[in-house]
Amino acid sequence: MNRPARIVLAGVSKHYATLAGTVRAVDGISLAIEPGSSVAITGPSGCGKSTLLGLVAGLETPGAGSVTVGGEEISRLPEKARAGLRRREIGLIFQADNLQPFLTALENVGLALALRGGRADGYGRCLAVLGELGLGDEAGKLPDQLSGGQRQRVAVARALVNDPAVILADEPTGSLDAGNSATIVDLLRGAQHVTGATLVVVTHDPDVARRLDRIVSLLDGRVVGDSAPSEPRECGRVRA
């Protein structure tokens, strides 16, 4: 099991040049997320939530500022080292399940384990995780033979199988119904409690946000709110 990681963003900016002009997706955000805590990143579409998550995951590099995950400044690492960090420390979940269509549920999970360096009983661990998520009987099926909720649970299993220090989820319930959404959030919270991982969830859903320790609200690439769930602040309201 990995040691829970602290996430620190210091003056992070990410701008894109488009035909319509420069888009400031993330504009000088400074933010610290304590190890083992859970944070919801909320805000309207285009406010920079997913970009922020991409920066934390090392999928993108900031134009300015620094991103530190577990003491390592991921924003300065070369691509190879960032990939290594993702293998070891980070579990990623997306709105779309993003499973490999040619791999069975078990293999999708097994690949994540293999990428980390694998274990001799790799499939045993994978089957255990899938079993914990209620997919023990579906392990041998291809993604298109599973329902949307099942696919997303496989995606969660894939993210958790490595015991990551950080779990990053981008709208994990965005395409699920209320029941499945609740199940996924339960799974994530449960996994976080068990592993002590730091959990960052990008979400539109106030119900999902409320179940996490902290809610950070973004607008136009900036942090406009940072609070505990008991005192939620809607992006719209802040803007108004």
Binding site: S50, T51, L53, G54, A57, L59, E60, E79, K80, A83, G84, L85, R86, R87, R88, I90, L92, F94, Q95, A96, N98, L99, Q100, P101, F102, L103, E107, G110, L111, A112, L113, A114, L115, R116, G118, A120, D121, G122, Y123, G124, L142, D144, R158, D170, E171, G174, S175
Partner: protein
Amino acid sequence: MRSYVWRDLARNPRRTLASLSGVTLGVALFASVLFFVDGSGATMTRRAIAPLALDMQRVLDAPLGGGLALDQRLAPAGVLQRGRPATIALTVRNPGTAPAHEVVVNDEPPAPLEYDHGTTRVDGRLVRDPAAQSPLAQGLARTGLNIGTVAPGSAVRLTYRARATVRIADARRLPLDGTISSRENVVPVKAGAPPATTAPALRERIARIPAVAAADTLSFADLPAGSLRTAGGVVRNPVRVFAFDRRYAAHYPSIKVVAGGWRPGAAMLSAEAARTLGAGPGDTVLLHLPSVRRPLALRLGGVTDLARSKPLFYSRKTSRLEDFVYVPDSVVVSPELFRRAVVPAFRAASARPGSQLKSLPVTEVDVLVRRGRLRSDPGRALAQTRAVARAIAAVAPGQDELIDNISNTLGVARADAAVGRRMFVFLGLPAVLLAAFLTAYTGSILAIAGRREQAILRIRGAHRGHLRRMLAHRTLALAGAGSLAGAALGLLSAVAVLGPDALRAAGAGRLLASAALAVGLGMLVTGVALYVPGARALRREISDERKELAVAPGGRAAPRVVRDIAVLAVAAVVGVLALRAARFEPAGGSVSEGRAVAAMPSQLLLAPLMLWFAGALVASRTVRGIAARLPLPAPPRFGPPLSGTLRRSLRRRARSLGTGIAGVALVVAFGTALALFSDTYDGAKAADAAFVVGSDLRVTPSVLVARPVPPAYAARLEVAGVGAMTPVVSKLDNAVLIGPYDQDRATLTAIEPAGFERVAALSDGFFGGGSAAAAMAALRADPRALLVNAETADGLSIEPGMRVKVLLARGTKRQRLESFRVAGLFHRLPGFPQGTSLVANLGFVAAATKSRGVDFFLGTASGGGDGALGRAVSALRSGPGRDTPLHIDTTATALDKDQSSLTALNINGLVDIDTVYTLLMSAAVIAIFVFGLMLERRREYVILRAQGMRSGELRALVLGEAAVVAVAGVAAGLAVGVGVAALLVRILRPLFVLDPTLTIPGGEIVLRAALAGAATLASALAAAALLRRLKPAELLREV
């Protein structure tokens, strides 16, 4: 909608270029083949007639003159009632100055008249009917009545009566077919024929025809040995006396004056005769003519070298018009002297009762057509020369024979051009199919990639009709632009290979037609190929994607394999049937007879086409089947991430893999087949040339060499650049072979077996069951060993091991009868394309006949290629050739003289075009496959990246799939290509003299594989670079 399509095409340049590349490359290859055909056809006439020595010959039927005329009349004219008699009168006139001997008059009453028995009279005297038949049509052969000699200036009148068996409305209309012949003029002349014209008059009238460049009279007659002599010497060989003037010599430059010159009234002597007689310019020689006691004294104006003069020595026998029958001892006199002295002598000899002349004099008008005016296309040129021939035949019609060599040659060239066109269509047709395949392949990939966009359009309200119209617009734009670009690229390619002049010669109309065909066919085929997968994708639902994952191998693939195997089986059956029907056996061709050299069964070209297409598909499906059964790492492990992912992807997505492999296999198979065919074609041409020459070089001492050149001279010819030389003695019909039951004239070739084996282009196939080495060893071991041509042996019932007798040096003072042992049989001998009957040991033959001279030497050049050949020729000319005039033939000159315009075609140019395009297309297939992967799987790759897979590993993943496609495609393509080439070579067998053996160019194959590998690597690297530029955060967010 159009603007949407336009924007879509403009803003997705990679997709647009991928779609265009297949269309453009395929159509460019097809168009370049069409333009190549146009350009090559434009030079075919020139190439075809270049080796032709004589364009047309008007040979006089009555070389001895005679001028007998027959007049025939029927009385009464008008109505003839049934049973009424009519009188037929035939009047024979001899307007000449010499009597006509043994004049035969032949006639039968025209139907419905019937001969009235006992009514035939000659000059009023009744002639008895033989066996109750008309004396003018006796026996089964209906032979005529011999009326004896008709004196000069006299006439003989014959009459007979015939009765009408039915009422005849107009007796004047009855056809009268009486003929007359004589000992002097054995060719029957019809009644009413115009008086025989003379050669000078004929020449003058033919020369006036506008398309005729030159018309010259040529006469010759053969005289027996001893006919030519001086006071101190005699020519002991047969002599030919020619009659032509200096104008004729100017028109045919192969007639060379080596001493003195053309002087009025003076004769020219051949170099061989001059050497034998020791005569030269200013001397007098005596020519003995038949039936003339006193020889003709000829003052010599000069000495000529006629050894290479085809117009003089090509056989005039209709069955052997292409044979060069050289008579070394000859004398040239003026046409006037020939008419005045030689013709009357022969006429007198032929008139002598009981005389039998071996041959009569020949008189002809040799015609050269204005070749510059001939159209470049052999078919059109043929129409022109036939018109010239008609014009020439119309001059004094019905009297003599016209040999139209140029039309016959052009007829062959036209047939060759047609064969060539069919062959080129075969080479071009796969290009269209490849274009269709590439386009369909790209179309299917783009259709998958465009599914999301279509879904968005549907959400926004577009219905299927809209989407179909958009697809139609896109198809039209891509197929149109690609086909136009392809036609332009094809034109540039043809210009690069043939040069602009060749295409200019083809004419704008023809080029435009080819361009229109390329664009039209290209648009049609590629349009269908683009539209169909797109329309199919429109009909498909997303859930159909599941079918793309071939979890269970087999499924729908099985019927397709059966279908492909069925096509292969059809190709095999066609091949076997053709083989059994001997369709691959070469058909003998004759330019003089206008029979095409290459009677190629071009419909058989469908067999390699089927083998190509079905073979590539079966190979790809086999690889696909193997991939679908790839072993996976055994549980409980996923295995190494890279290989585990790659193997699972290959196993479960074998379908897209199979399509990529099929594409590469098709292109590589086509390119390989062409490369192999081209090398085999070149090899076969070179082998043919070596067979015709005998080796790399053939050195013939000029007739001007004063003394016989001994066999030992070979050592002097072995100068730097020349490998080895060996002497050969051979002359037409120089021996008589006497078997146990029969005998026949034969051409004996004497060789030094050891040297000949080292130098000559021998092949075991020439010696039936035995080997070349064994045959040469037999000759070496036993001086009296003899190799006999299999056909000759068959004709005389001779078998190996028998003892036979051979009359050596036949017809010379050295002739001698020797016994030999038949050591073996042979079918062919290098250096003797027209064949030779016997092969014997030179040492023994020379000793037996006490002959010291050889006819020619065969030699090899040190090193290969035209450069080595050129160096050897230069060394020979500057070395021994300086003292001894030598004629040097090489394999290169033999190729230049090739009579078949088809085998003379620059097929290499076409193959170069094909090679470049197949390489480009194989690179395009791999690139399309890789970028198809990118379009289809970029999300998968980004997920893997997000999961921590490094760029290098991702690159390896892309490269791995592309490499499997490239390696499997190239391997399958090579295997299929070799098969197709083997079949193609069998089909084109009739083009060659010798049996071509399939040549496998290792270098080219390695190059092709290396280029496919390089294309794979480049595509994978480019794909990896594209992967790095993708925005993962955006892609992963997409639902």
